[in-house]
Symmetry: C2
Subunit: 203 residues, 2 copies
Amino acid sequence: MGRRRTVSAGEPLIWEDDDSLLVANVIEGVLKLTTSTADGREQIVGVAYPSDFIGRPFGQTSAASVVALTDARVCVFARNDFDRFARDHPELEHKLLERTLAELDRTRAWMVLLGRKSAPEKIATFLLDMSERLADNGCMAHTGPAKHFTLPFSRQQVADLLGLTIETVSRQFTKLKADGVVALPGRRDVEILDRAALQTLAG
Amino acid sequence: MGRRRTVSAGEPLIWEDDDSLLVANVIEGVLKLTTSTADGREQIVGVAYPSDFIGRPFGQTSAASVVALTDARVCVFARNDFDRFARDHPELEHKLLERTLAELDRTRAWMVLLGRKSAPEKIATFLLDMSERLADNGCMAHTGPAKHFTLPFSRQQVADLLGLTIETVSRQFTKLKADGVVALPGRRDVEILDRAALQTLAG
DNA sequence: TCCGATCCTTGACCGAAATCAATCTGGCGG
DNA sequence: CCGCCAGATTGATTTCGGTCAAGGATCGGA
């Protein structure tokens, strides 16, 4: 069915291929979905992990662009083919509906963060979210939230995810380190030292 | 199938009924979907217009609460019944999937507004959005964006939608009026005098 | 028509985060 | 091993929008 493709970190996943739009399934790696304003301010509107579906089947084409954050493997489908196939396979459509509903829930929760939370709350919420998302990367289920993990994001990308500037993100990280809430052994490594404190900060 | 219910303006739509969760279809009126932080800050995460679907079929219950903005009529279903019915009717699931994908797109566009736009940009974007949404309320299709319309929101609710405070919303409205971009004949009435200016402001 | 409640507007002030501007770090190629 | 450079941190300053605090408008009910 779909064709395998590899995308290296930083590379965009092109949505035009043989004049036909694509949809895709993530096999491995992490990708960002972004939308930008006319003057170039960027907002990350979604993050796709393995097994997540990306693209916009049925009609309209979505405005978001997709870029790999880590080296990634995806399984791409020409959209027309996919649409036809989906219509004939209710089980697939059902699965897709469940995933889309779950993604909508997650997106709505993120709206509260963007619209109503302060910078410290945003950072704390982000770290807790990451610690959960990156925990069950492997094959075994529910190992619980990770204490130590490597972010698939640069500081700028964290800023684009939280609706902040890179400087504010950096300052908040520094503050959490100074307060002994987290350790930052490497640029993208986080170790949660005081989860309770983070949860309090997250509000 | 579903039971008709009327909800008057300001009244919440309860999701518990005879120990079974509900899903619903909006027949008439406008409702808000909100999520709040622990300390009571509120964010409107979605707005449901006639023909929109609300609630969370299949598994998890969504965290959002639903309140009618205007008097509304909805058609409610016990979720268990709905789930069973949907699984047996692929056409319904397909329709629901299309709507959910469209809602996800709209929600993602709103994230850019919340995360990256200034107060003037937020207000301008909001007014243009409203002018389009409230245009085809009636039966005829595509009359184009409305020049004059009545908001289904109080100032506080506009603030909750845009991630601002009521004072900032008020000041921005006043400024647009002073600049001759809009007229505000009544508390909730908006007349767009200079659409081009609004579009420029929206960015 | 008057009253009261609620919603909205306006003003003065403050503070959190953005902006502007240097450094600093660490990873990599030569 | 050294120098380079993108990414990250830190500091100084500004600004936008929030907070606090009065008023003013509008609507419904007596």
